[in-house]
């Protein structure tokens, strides 16, 4: 614990990361209380105030149908976070399990699982997501499915590499000599030693999943209107640059804050947990 605080104190950037992520999470959780115009997350139209530059009470300005950008960004964070958590909650267990099995069992299991992983890794992520979204309907659920499909191989690869190293460690041999089951060796002995690297990567990836989801929405393949999404907001405002700059700048900054914050925390976690990957 003392060491953790010492590392945090010695690195002001990690504290900044903590503040930024706290900001994002608090906005998302308490959106209903923080947002000045909660109704603006939906299909509200207020032509009296459309396309207004930042001014009270619209501190980030309003969009083309007169909705408060600040409120919409806060609700967009909620969706981004849920998206990130759901994607990682599905992709990480799948990737980690595949990596562990391939790394520990070796042989044909390793060959099949890792070639499958390579296939997924060799397709550019956005292309894969776009093709899945092209076949299926562009809905939020399908968006998550698409992002998940391109995310698990990275965990499989990471955990596979760690497992290959850990398999040679004496404690694995000791457990095998005692007669422990394969399940015990894989999940109780090796997995805990993969966790620091996995947790670090998950934190970094929260930022990247948000970024990818925004990219998909920017292309019109992710979250659909009127649901607020940072990527779609940037896309919608892009046509009106540079005059209506607030339409793109504020959602863009919001993406930056989230991605930057999670990255800083990920770097600090790498030091604290001593993960070398």
């Amino acid at each position: 614990m003392r060491r953790t605080f010492a590392i945090l104190a010695a690195n002001p950037l990690s504290l900044l990361g903590l503040v930024l992520v706290a900001l994002v999470v608090i906005s998302a959780v308490f959106a209903d209380f923080i947002a000045p115009f909660p109704a603006h997350r939906g299909a509200v139209v207020d032509f009296a105030n459309f396309n207004q530059p930042p001014q009270w009470p619209y501190i980030f300005g309003t969009d083309l149908v007169g909705r408060d950008l600040f409120s919409r960004i806060i609700y967009a964070y909620r969706i981004s976070l849920v998206l990130g958590i759901v994607v990682l909650a599905i992709a990480v267990p799948i990737g980690v399990t595949i990596g562990l099995l391939a790394g520990y069992l070796g042989g044909w299991t390793e060959y099949l699982l890792m070639r499958l992983t390579d296939v997924f890794l060799s397709i550019p992520p956005l292309v894969l997501a776009m093709s899945i979204m092209g076949v299926l309907e562009p809905t939020l659920t399908n968006g998550m499915l698409a992002v998940t499909a391109m995310w698990w191989p990275w965990y499989a690869r990471l955990v596979y590499n760690i497992t290959r190293g850990e398999r040679e460690e004496g404690y694995v041999l000791a457990a095998e000599v005692i007669g422990a089951s394969r399940g015990h060796v894989i999940f109780r002995e090796i997995l805990p030693n993969c966790m620091p690297a996995v947790i670090t990567k998950m934190t970094l990836d929260m930022g990247f999943v948000i970024l990818i989801a925004s990219s998909l929405s920017f292309l019109g393949l992710g979250v659909q209107p009127p649901t607020p999404d940072l990527g779609s907001m940037v896309a919608a405002g892009a046509t009106y640059l540079p005059d209506s700059w607030w339409l793109t700048v504020f959602p863009g900054l919001a993406i930056l804050v989230a991605v930057f914050g999670f990255n800083l925390i990920g770097d600090a976690l790498r030091d604290i947990l001593g993960a070398d990957q």
Partner: protein
């Protein structure tokens, strides 16, 4: 008495960590005359390896290391030198042999190219062909008969013992005044280790090289060193000529160490404490008590 080649005076070292300062060396002094073989004997965590790193000038540039005291190499204070000047000494006036020869050689370069790099540190203008001839001559000195094959090989194509010989040859290629050997041969089989030590001993005698020999193995030290220092938890506890210390170890820690070594002639494993307040007893200096 001539000026010492290496003279360490009241050297302190501490590391600044996340939870405060940890003192590793509590003021050690050590000197080595030109051509003298001196051993620094200690267990893990005694501070023997960090001492070698300070002499090599490797710890001075580490931000977390706090070093006080003097390290005089050939009369020049290392602490007052720029890190560039310290760097220039390494591989020329002082060189080093490591524990594991195979991992200290770069696996992707042929031995000949690595020799060329070593020789270039002393003479940047040395041509490849000249370096090759010089390397072949040095390899012959370490009893490598087919020098051409070895020079054209990559380290992984050679045995551990062969790599150790190559390491010794490289370390002595620039005729250093001081050689630092950190547990040489520990990673090798006993028969190879014995040959390596004999070879090293003969070479440093021929070249009149001073050696700082770092080891935990009393038997190896007895066979190699003229004089020895015993270090325990960052403090020197006993020093003197090798024969004198082995004939009459006086410090409780040195006695415990010697008693704990299992003997080839049998006698069982003695009951010895791993630690004792007696081990903190002051330095026993065999030379101070018997001036000659």
């Amino acid at each position: 008495m001539s000026a010492p080649m290496l003279d360490i005076r009241d050297l302190h070292l501490s590391f600044k960590g996340h939870t405060g300062l940890t003192e590793v060396l509590h003021g050690i002094s050590l000197h080595i005359q030109p051509g003298e073989r001196v051993a620094l004997v200690g267990e893990s965590g005694s501070g023997k390896s960090v001492t070698a790193r300070i002499v090599l000038g490797l710890l001075q540039d580490l931000p977390s290391a706090r070093i006080t005291g003097q390290v005089l190499f050939d009369g020049r204070d290392l602490e007052l030198m720029s890190s560039r000047a310290r760097h220039a000494l390494r591989g020329t006036a002082m060189s080093m042999i490591f524990q594991d020869p195979t991992s200290s050689l770069n696996p992707v370069f042929r031995i000949a190219d690595q020799f060329h790099d070593v020789l270039r540190r002393a003479d940047p203008s040395v041509a490849k062909a000249a370096a090759h001839d010089r390397a072949a001559a040095i390899l012959a000195e370490v009893s490598i008969r087919d020098a051409q094959r070895v020079l054209n090989a990559y380290p992984f194509q050679l045995s551990g013992g062969m790599n150790q010989r190559v390491m010794i040859a490289m370390a002595l290629a620039n005729e250093p005044a001081l050689l630092i050997a950190d547990e040489p041969g520990t990673a090798l089989d006993v028969t190879v280790q014995a040959q390596t030590l004999q070879l090293m001993r003969r070479l440093v005698e021929d070249h009149h090289t001073a050696v700082l020999f770092i080891s935990h193995n009393l038997g190896v030290v007895r066979e190699f060193a003229d004089r020895l220092y015993v270090i325990y938890k960052g403090r020197m506890v006993e020093q003197g000529p090798t024969d004198a210390v082995f004939a009459d170890p006086r410090h409780p820690y040195t006695r415990a160490l010697m008693a704990a070594v299992p003997h080839l002639t049998g006698g069982g494993i003695p009951e010895i404490a791993e630690a004792s307040p007696d081990f903190a007893a002051p330095l026993v200096d065999h030379e101070a008590e018997a001036p000659s």
